[in-house]
Assembly symmetry: D2
Homo-oligomer: 324 residues x 4
């Protein structure tokens, strides 16, 4: 397995740096005859797109170019190669980073690791890498939409800094006015906040997950914690209710406490999990050198959903050979 | 990658069911000339062993037999095969499970998935599978002990049910009298509890972790959440301090808030993470059919440490080819 | 992928040295509910067994112990762990090898590679490692026998030294008297010979093989050339008929010249391939230190068949997700 | 491992169809600080390019665009994404193929396998996919050129149809006048021929190759037989000298008969292997529908070399963790 490939059956390989010519993703393992849903892909990319709300000033056009694997609007069963060109590479702004690694970023870390690093920005650590995940997730969703139509994935910001939220939002544009102005203030002050995203996989297929190192829950954990700025993952009761007694926790074979996964395998019940994010590192002192994102949470929602689709599609294909 | 293999460079493949003849593990990717430290292996297995404290009444002898890969007390560079025979397979006790899947267990889940399942006990979901992890982790530790001597991994039960703990313990036998009697009561009442384990990787090598899907943190998450009964993983501030502002969180390039990982890569600072466990499923109603473990946390401590050693060794080998 | 694992969907991991305590194999990816055919396993192992003909004087008992993955005579869908103990480890005979690497063997090669090597015999290079392959191949055969009943694999020695053969033989015991006495002479003279095995996969499933690096033919080549002492692989016309014009070679969509594979994918026609073996290295000068095999070809026949079954089962499982 | 990825440490993933927008390759596992040698890449691509000799009339511009992984002329240690746009997609010519699968091609095979196939040409089976291999091989060569400077890989057409050749050629343009006119005649007659390529890896690193399923020889076999139109692989004596007695074959620890590999591991001696190719399928009856290549051998020479570089780089990285 290469470092930049995710998944075992539905696999995607990600490449691209924030200040290089393009990002790209190669999806391998996609069955043939899956209908290519361009609208879905563009909608998902739009949800992720910065600049629409107040959380970032970046303007990215994000036009995907499909290079292979699709013919007459259906998948061929061959690898699907897709790239998105990087425009607006204001690398001049970043010249100063070269000798001044930004606090909270990974500039120095990558320099230490590889000796030679792209000092113009986040490189592979850039949030822009999540473009590839949203693309791959969209194809995973197309597969599931066609083969297990009832499954739906929703996610929302459960907490942004001190604010607890309840409504489902599908991207920055759908935040309440209250939160928008909170984030606008943060931005003008050069402040940043973390938060929590809650995600629901509704009506998932049952029997997904493999013993013992590819449990559904561990692949989900790996997927989520591979997203930049994440600091925690929990499903079902997670960390929130450690005091609960076993006699309360285990009341029947079906229980919300299990989060939809038992023995590492999906039970068919809704899968509920949360992901914690730290405050973005673009705070006052370093923000002038780069671009501002007072909170990554709103833009991370489509990324969390995309990775959940990928885990789902991966295990959906995998479970087809459990028994013949 | 097979479902029962963990790791990319330091890899181990696990097999065995709780009521079959034996458990076993094959470690592949271990360099040659690593000194085989039998004492360490037996000490780690003893830490995991049930029956020494009051958390379980099972008596397992757990004698590892090394079948390959070691010669004249050193590794050969070839795969290391190790088995542990299962004694005391009281499968008669379990005959009833066949038609009555136990609440909280995965009996029905496995039956659904594979149609044909071993109804005599937990099968691959049994806690006894962690034997393989402790064995593999011991070899990972031998590698690191020889090649990066200063690294140490410690772990302790931070919470058991409602009790918050502070001291480091290396296994069930080191619990305080207070907690021991709490668990003894739980056992006699057929009650069970969950908890939290905190683990510290002290003085780890820096530069470990691969972009972007094998970040050190995501492989750690995958390793931990692959352990049975886990429900959450967090490192650094995790879920605990979402209100914290970015200006507090990011104070310098070095900060405890980062949990020892930045950009997915180890910084050389101590790595601190926590793992949440749900209450064991062996509660009153189902316990009479099986064996009692009022809380898995004490016995999971050596398992958490073992998996941390595996992730460490895996990434240690991997980072050697980052640059030549 | 680890160095000692073969296959992508039907995978097996091999361990064991010729002078260690045991050989073993872990099969992962086997579907549940496949009937365990012990008779088939023992028959295949018997075909491979030395000492029955005149090609070797070794006496190996080769009793497989199934440690996991089988319950009530059917596969569980969990990894199948099997070991075979090594008896008769006359390592005293080999003490001299330590400082005198045997010509034709890999003693010095392994010593150079790993610095620390098991000087008592062939280690992982020993022909005895093929036990693991025959075991894995038998399980692959059980899968195919149940799911694609019409497929049959046969193989025979096409050439032994200067002798061209035609009849199918399933192991050393079935050699003609002529060849047996030729090999007996070779043995008494301390001479050795190579040869060619031809293998037919009759009535294989069609559509097996993946673009572009897991073509059926390339995985077959990898499988065959991974067997010790092999020096060549060819299918269809191979090297034998390079002068043939395209207009003769390509006469219709169906042609024996294609060897049953087109575009890397099985067409459903019989797959025919040959494997070349060099003379065994146990010649006069070195043979006294070890054990004599004047020609590896007869004993390699069941190994070639076993690896063919593994490739077949691997691609059979793989092709199930080509389209859903 | 995905179907379109080659290698374990130095890995590349290939995508693209002959009549889609572009081919592309993602190289993962390349260490940082390797100097990007654009001249070498273009030279290797030029060797492969059709239209320069008389073997094909296609005109492909083949300009590689590097999208990631290279910065200031050195590798970053991140995945290297490269695409080559397809121009000249005369798919109108191919409309007829839709209902008339071409003899010798894989049109019907792919249609059977995936139900939905790109009928405009070879799809993933097209010889144009080898562009990706030559690109990946060029980067493997850059790595080896910098880290093991003395290694050189040469290859030449040993046989083209009935003609035995001896001189080394690096591509179609270097064929002798004799062979050029032979091929020109074949083309005008709509005839095609196969052939044999011999390849020498001179002064390779020693100790490359992993037990037991990633022997250097088996990975080489897999690499070569994954190339379209190949029908055989042999190294050392291969199939050519089966009559040779062991006492002749094994004369000393160092022998040309071993082909540079013993026990699956490189000895440091030159590695010599041959690859057999069948006649191209573009014969008279089907050629008018597509493009003509009377013999693939001259153009396959740089492809064989490229794959050999990839296997070499892969095992070079791998062997660095054999012992530390």
């Amino acid at each position: 397995m290469s470092a930049n490939t995710f998944g075992q059956r539905f696999q995607f390989t990600s490449f691209g740096e924030s200040h290089g010519p393009a990002y790209g993703v190669v999806i391998d393992g996609m069955p043939s005859e899956i209908i290519y849903d361009e609208k879905l892909l563009l909608k998902n990319l739009a949800e992720r797109k910065p600049g629409q709300s107040h959380t970032t000033s970046r303007n990215e056009s994000d036009q995907p170019e499909i290079l292979s694997g699709i013919f007459e609007n259906k998948t061929l069963g061959t690898p699907i190669g897709i790239i998105i060109k990087n425009e607006n590479q204001k690398s001049d702004d970043y010249e100063k980073i070269k000798n001044n690694p930004r606090i909270g970023h990974a500039d120095d870390v990558w320099q230490n690791k590889f000796a030679h690093a792209d000092h113009r920005g986040g490189g592979r650590s850039s949030g822009r890498e999540t473009l590839n995940r949203v693309i791959a997730g969209s194809f995973a969703q197309m597969l599931m939409n066609q083969k297990h139509t009832q499954t739906k994935i929703t996610a929302f910001a459960k907490q942004i800094g001190p604010h607890h939220l309840t409504e489902e939002i599908n991207g920055s544009s759908e935040l309440s006015e209250n939160i928008k102005s909170f984030l606008e203030n943060a931005k003008s002050e050069g402040e940043s906040y973390g938060g929590i995203i809650e995600c629901h996989i509704e009506n998932p297929p049952m029997n997904l997950g493999q013993p013992v190192f590819h449990k559904f829950k561990s692949d989900l954990a790996s997927a989520m914690i591979s997203i930049g700025a994440t600091t925690g993952f929990e499903f079902g009761q997670g960390f929130s209710n450690i005091e609960m007694k076993g006699s309360e926790f285990h009341q029947s074979l079906i229980s919300k406490n299990y989060g939809g996964v038992r023995g590492g395998i999906t039970t068919g019940e809704d899968i509920i999990f949360k992901v914690a994010f730290k405050p973005t590192s673009s705070i006052k002192d370093v923000a002038k050198l780069g671009r501002h994102d007072p909170c990554i949470v709103p833009r991370a929602i489509p990324v969390v959903k995309a990775m959940a689709w990928c885990v789902l599609a991966d295990h959906y294909l995998w479970h087809l050979t459990d028994r013949l």
